[in-house]
Structures are given as C-alpha cells and as structure tokens.
Symmetry: C2
Subunit: 187 residues, 2 copies
Amino acid sequence: MADINSSAKDSGGKAGPADVAGGDAAAPGSGKAPIWDIIELLFFAYRDFVGDPDEVLAKFAFGRAHHRVLHFVNRHPGMKVADLLDILNITKQSLGRVLKQLVDQGYVLQKEGDHDRRQRLLYVTAKGEALSLKLAQLQTERIERAFGELGPGAHDAARRFLTAMIDNDNREEVLRLISRAERVKRS
Amino acid sequence: MADINSSAKDSGGKAGPADVAGGDAAAPGSGKAPIWDIIELLFFAYRDFVGDPDEVLAKFAFGRAHHRVLHFVNRHPGMKVADLLDILNITKQSLGRVLKQLVDQGYVLQKEGDHDRRQRLLYVTAKGEALSLKLAQLQTERIERAFGELGPGAHDAARRFLTAMIDNDNREEVLRLISRAERVKRS
DNA sequence: TATTTATGTCAGCCATGTTGACATATTTTG
DNA sequence: CAAAATATGTCAACATGGCTGACATAAATA
C-alpha cells in the first residue's frame, strides 16, 4: 500500500526535534495561531501509546474499555463503582458491560462495602493484577525509552506538562488520586 | 498477589506536581516498576484535550472521526486518500463514511490528481478551514494555558517528550509531515 | 415510614471501527 | 498493446463501546 511519503528527499532538514514547529504566521484576522505541532504530536504519541496494549488485549478478546477499567481498579483497589464512573466519564450501562465480563472471567471481584453495604467495592484478582501489570509494562517500556533519549529531567518535565494540560477543575482530584494510589493497595 | 508497589513512604506531602510519582519500589520478581504517574496523566490529559472540541463538534452532528479527518486535510492540503488512511490507521470503509459526510456538507473537496488521475486529492473549503481552525484554537488555549503555568522552555520540552513517545518507525515520517505542513499550505 | 442513594439490568439506538467481496478508472509493466 | 497493479469507492454484515430511558432492589438516611 503505497508509502505515504515517497516524497523525494524532502528538502534538507532532517526535521530534528527543535525544527518541527512550522511557520508561526498567525491567521491574519483570527485569534491566536494554533500550536499545530503539539496538537499533532499529542495525537501521534497517544495513538502509539495506547496501540501497544491493544495488541495484547486482542488476544484476550478485550478492548480498551476493559483496559481502562482494569487499570483503575488495579491502581485504586476498593474503589466504588461510582468513583470509576466519574473517572471514566461514561454511563453505568457502558461500564456495566465491560465490568461484568471482567468479573465473570475472574479479573475483577466485587466486595460489599463494610460501612455501606450498598456499595460494591472493586478489586483485581491475582489474574487481573497480572494482566494489568503486563499492559502497564508495555507502556512503561515506551516511556522509559523516551526518557532515555531525553535528558535526566525528562520525567519531571513530562509530569509537569501533562499535569498542566488537565482541566483545572479536575486537576487536584486527579493528583490526589494518583498520589494516593500506592498508599491504599489491597489489604 | 505480589504487591506490586507497596510504597509505604510517601511522606504525606501535599502532592505537588513534583511528588506525584508514587513509590518506585519495583515488584520483586517482575520486570520494571510501571511508571504509573505518566501512564495516568497521559490518560487524563488526553481525555481533556480531546474533550474541548467534542462539545463544538456535537453542535454540527460531527464526531471525533470527522475532527481527525478535517484536521489532517486542513493541515496537509492536497493529500491523497491513501495518506490519510495511513495516518489515521483505519480502513478505507471507515474513512469513506465520514469523508463522504464532510464532502457532502461542503467542508472538504476532492480534486483529481494532476499527474495521476486516479487520485482524489483532498482539500478543505473555506468552511472546512474555519471549523478546523476553531477546534484547533480551543486546543491551543489549553496548551497555552499549560505553557503559561510552566516555565519558558515548556513548549520545547513538551515537543521533545511527545516526539520521543512516538514509534521509532513512524517518527521521521511524522516529523516530516508536521514540519512540511506549513510550507505547502493553500496556494 | 418515606425518601434518597448505590448499584444493576433490560432494551434499543448511534458512531465508528472491522472484514470480505467486488467495481471502476487509470497507470505501469511485461 | 494486453495484462497486471494501483487508487479509490461501494455494498453488506458485524463488533465494540458509547448513549438514553425505564425500571428494580437493597440499604442508608431523613
């Protein structure tokens, strides 16, 4: 299928990372000039980032929806269904579909809440943890490869950038979620 | 059940951006310790990043698929259908569906290739460009807000990080695509 | 006791991805 | 030139994972 860019030699530049931005000429009448490079890089980076796990998931007949659920349950054991709904921004019906599969196949289990017996607190099983970890390690390889190519401050810089990209409303909540994750763990 | 990361430390800080990482203790027998913070931050950042345009698109009865097509056609006018398929990593049937709607409603137009009359080169109309720009500016606002919060080197750092996250195979191609975009532009 | 909350479920719709088969025009190749 | 390869489009069927609406149940709360 036809290489997309058979394009001859592409005039000089090797397009080193510092050269990517493209022209900065703003559209005359409109607002600011779009930051095209970051917009496109985010698309491609995320596409590849989620692409790795997809291949593994396919073998299990799972999709990205399963991955997201499994990931957050693994990272935040004992979370309520409602918490998960908030994080994923989907309806309970959508969640129910994939959650049921994960439970039926023994990746996730639900426990009645201690204080509130209406709640179904979510935990991964050993099997679920293993899969979640496997997927996370695929993504970690990519991240570490990237950090390896960049300088020593790379992790911190990435963390700061990504954090700043999150909605201001959610940000504190997200940071709390992330930093609290390891404290809780399965008892 | 292998505790993957029973961090225990965590110093009870305020979870400032520099403290988010969580424990670094590797799981004893398994591979490396997953870089959870970046994995999750990427999820949340991307979720919000694509969330802004979604609201606007809904008013036009368009979805993300339309957005992606419109974006790339706007940025890379005159591209072949095959190029777009490669970039988006979808089948021609999937592309055909949304492309047809964009053409029918006057956002995109197709021109026979000059040298190869089998090709249908893609261009945005004025209407298409306006919508594409509007969406890009929403995303740009978020990016600029982020860069504003971070130091002066933020744009470069983000570009380097995102670039390093892309598949090595595609990377050169992607960078060429991005850097060439503004040179071509509408004549 | 009455209401609210947390969760689940049935039923159906929509957007967007997939595969497979096939059609048409055009370019390239033997 | 004839045959093959290429660029694109289309029909049909199906899968995934969103959505809404309606309704059910158990438990907590007012």
